[in-house]
């Protein structure tokens, strides 16, 4: 288990949890990211936003938010 900001590009992950408020969780839910959901890292330069593929859609997550997302490798 690690943070999304530490993930390598082109890796399939499973969303575990979010260390954040309800507002942030809600935004993720809207994008289809609920605990147990698969996501694929498309672009992570280690700084700035991270782009991921969730349910077939490309989504950009700000660095601050990505740092609060806990994931595990599939």
């Amino acid at each position: 288990m690690h943070r999304l900001t530490q993930a390598r590009t082109n890796v399939n992950l499973i969303f575990v949890s979010l260390e954040g408020g309800r507002g942030a969780m809600h935004r993720l839910t809207d994008m289809g990211l609920i605990p147990g959901e698969r996501l694929r890292v498309l672009h992570n330069s280690g700084y700035g936003p991270v782009t991921v593929l969730i349910k077939g859609a490309k989504v950009a997550l700000g660095h601050g938010l990505a740092a609060k997302i806990i994931v595990k490798e599939e």
């Binding site: 969780m25 809600h26 839910t29 672009h43 349910k55 859609a57 700000g62 938010l65």
Partner: protein, 695 residues
């Protein structure tokens, strides 16, 4: 059965092609307004089909119907309060599961639902094959396949909407299986809620209790005001606690999980397995555009292009408007006898209308350019590229564009450009700091003062420091506003990056026109009204000299000084004294509210030079140099004040409208800019004096 009228509402995710479908349904018969009291746009249009006249309301694009964002609250309030006859949910077929999440929430509002499976060509290309009959059975909603940008399926969509309205297609309410634990809590709440007849008449009870379990703040407010408030809220808190213990997660997440589960179940049954999503071309373009090295220069290039289109391409049109109003003033001067009425028509009325329309070409061209980059999918990426930097100052990646439009350009289209920001907080902060940028109209003031009081070799440096200062003030203000005024949970950056698409000309033109027209409609009346007030302030009371041989220029100077505006200039002298200035500057600042370049011509009048062209200020420059009451330090204080203080009233009118017509934000803007301006000039003037500059 002629001309039956009914209302439908269009719902759907952002980027689902909703506005294209709306355009296809309504053609040019549409108008844009605002939902009362909020900044959210309301688009309405009419579709005439067969013997029906259908009123189409375009709801804001949302991912769900929670109470977290203004858009979502507006969308669901419309559905609950106005009760449209049919809801059409526009779904991006190539991204079905995520898009159906909204549908599961619309289903709970118990209004007949039609699903428009949009962009079906893209989905088919990917190998997706949908069994429509099965999906209809599973979801209980009517389904139509459409390709919005090719105008395919519009007729079928209208036919289906009418059939659903006439109940020839029976839609049914399918209930999502939330599981026995949630079901149990829902049953308990149901019994309580149903005791209040009024409440369940007004709202679908099932929706109410699901939302209560989701801890939805506005539904809890509604229930909190009902007769069963205490009992229901207590039971809900109990139920939520119980669920949280049972699942080890908040009920919101569990409910969302069940909805996605329901969708996933339906999709497995109705969709022939499709190949893994491909994003070939979009991915390749993104590799370049989101590249850490290339990203910024590409962004700069796009911003530059928008700026160019806004100010260069609009030039001929601006010219036509200018000529037209010059002509109109000419006619008025010829046919109306000289006197008060002529002055009212020429300076008050025509000046005011000209003031509104003068900005119109800029607004139009800017919105065309923005629409182009929005519809191609670049704008979402632009926000992405700039977010790291902008978020340090409490701004959003998209805040960059309005500020840039304003620099050397104009704050009026700049404030309008904040429409690309989704969150209200981000919009307000950006709108608040955009007027600090040095707009084109402030340039003549700088040219006059720098030319008059500083050696030529320092000119460029002073000018440059002014630009740097404007950026520091804008970003500093944003940071301070975020820290002091707009506190609370930080808005996280979550944004869908839609696949790149080729925009349609029709779509771009419609977008340009509807936003441009919005500017005229909203700002128009206020601008004309204030223009007349300003005219009156400088015209009354009237001055008629007793001596014979006074020149016209001298009359104008006295008229200005003893007018209400002039008296106000004298009145504020104690305030501008500490920053080294006198009543003449007070008057000039007052006049500058009409338009910044007017500051220059006002000094012309004060120095009895008659009409001074802001572009040709040699004689004014000399007069000011000869005036012993000026010195470079005072000039710098003046520049500082005019850099920061109040935006012109057109910008303020637009700000007022765009901030949701709430006076408090406009008053706050006036307060904030004035105080900042005064403090900065005070620091410059008093600091300079301590250091031994000035007289």
């Amino acid at each position: 059965m002629r001309n039956r009228k009914f209302t439908i509402a269009l719902a759907g995710n952002p980027n689902s092609g909703k506005s294209t479908i709306f355009n296809n349904l309504t053609g040019a018969h549409q108008h844009v307004g605002n939902y009362p009291g909020v900044t959210v746009e309301k688009k309405e249009g009419k579709a005439s089909f067969q013997d029906y006249e259908i009123n189409v309301v375009d709801l804001p694009g949302t991912y769900s119907l929670s109470a977290y964002s203004e858009d979502e609250v507006v969308a669901r309030d419309f559905i609950i309060n106005e009760k449209p006859d049919v809801i059409v949910d526009i779904v991006d077929s190539s991204n079905l599961e995520r898009n159906l999440y909204l549908a599961t929430q619309l289903m709970e509002l118990e209004i007949p639902l039609v699903l428009a499976m949009n962009m079906n060509d893209m989905a088919e290309k990917k190998g997706q094959d949908v069994d429509y009959t099965k999906l209809f059975d599973l979801l209980g909603v009517a389904i139509v396949s459409t390709v919005g940008n090719k105008n395919i399926g519009t007729k079928e969509l209208l036919e289906t909407i009418i059939k659903v309205y006439e109940e020839k297609i029976k839609t049914k309410v399918v209930h999502i299986g939330y599981g026995p634990e949630i079901r149990e809590e829902m049953d308990k709440l149901e019994q309580i809620v149903k005791k209040d007849k009024e409440l369940v008449d007004q709202y679908p009870w099932r929706w109410l209790i699901v939302k209560m379990l989701e801890n939805d703040s506005s539904v809890l407010d509604i229930v909190g005001k009902s007769s069963i408030a205490q009992e229901a809220i207590a039971q809900n808190e109990n139920g939520r606690r119980h669920l949280q213990m049972h699942f080890g997660d908040i009920p919101e997440t569990i409910i969302a999980d069940r909805r996605y589960g329901f969708i996933s179940g339906a999709c497995t049954e109705a969709l022939k397995p499709s190949i893994e999503q491909r994003h070939d071309l979009s991915d390749k373009i993104d590799k370049v555009i989101l590249n850490r090295i290339l990203g910024i220069p590409i962004f700069a290039l796009v911003m530059y292009a928008i700026f160019k289109v806004t100010f260069i391409f609009s030039e001929p049109m601006v010219g036509w408007f200018e000529k037209f109003f010059e002509g109109l003033s000419g006619i008025a001067t010829t046919y109306i006898p000289e006197g008060l009425f002529q002055s009212f028509v020429v300076d008050g009325l025509i000046g005011g209308v000209g003031g509104v329309l003068g900005f119109f070409p800029l607004v139009l061209f800017m919105f065309f350019a923005i629409a182009f980059f929005e519809d191609t999918g670049y704008m979402a990426r632009a926000a992405f590229v700039m977010d790291k930097l902008m978020s340090k100052f409490g701004l959003h990646g998209k805040s960059f564009l309005p500020m840039m439009i304003s620099t050397n350009g104009c704050a009026v289209p700049g404030i309008m450009a904040t429409r690309t920001l989704e969150s209200k907080k981000d919009r307000l902060i950006t709108m608040m700091v955009t007027p600090f940028m040095i707009c084109g109209a402030k340039l003549p003031i700088f040219a006059l003062f720098i030319g008059a009081f500083f050696p030529t070799k320092y000119g460029a440096n002073i000018m440059f420091s002014m630009y740097v200062l404007s950026v520091i003030i804008a970003f500093g203000s944003a940071w301070a506003l975020k820290k002091l005024v707009f506190k609370g949970e930080t808005a996280y950056f979550v944004m869908e990056l839609p696949p790149y698409r080729i925009p349609t000309i029709k779509g771009l033109l419609l977008k340009m026109w509807e936003r441009g027209w919005m500017y005229i409609r909203k700002a128009g009346t206020i601008v004309i009204l204030i223009s007349i007030i300003i005219w009156a302030g400088f015209t009354f009371p009237q001055y008629s000299p007793k001596e014979e041989n006074v020149s016209e220029e001298e009359i104008a100077a006295v008229q200005l000084e003893q007018s209400y505006a002039g008296r106000f200039g004298h009145f504020v002298e104690p305030v501008v004294k500490p920053i080294g200035l006198d009543w003449r500057s007070g008057i000039a600042f007052m006049a500058g509210i009409a338009a910044k370049e007017v500051v220059v011509s006002t000094f012309g009048t004060i120095y009895s030079l008659g009409e001074v062209d802001p572009e040709e200020t040699d004689s004014l420059r000399e007069s000011m140099q000869k005036d012993p009451s000026w010195d470079p330090l005072k000039a710098l204080a003046f520049l500082m004040f005019s850099l920061i203080y109040l935006p012109c009233f057109v910008a303020m009118a637009v700000f007022y409208r765009e901030s949701g017509s709430q006076l408090k934000w406009t008053l706050f803007l006036i307060f904030w800019t004035t105080v900042m301006a005064w403090l900065a000039s005070f620091a410059v003037y008093q600091g300079g004096r301590i250091l031994g500059f000035g007289v």
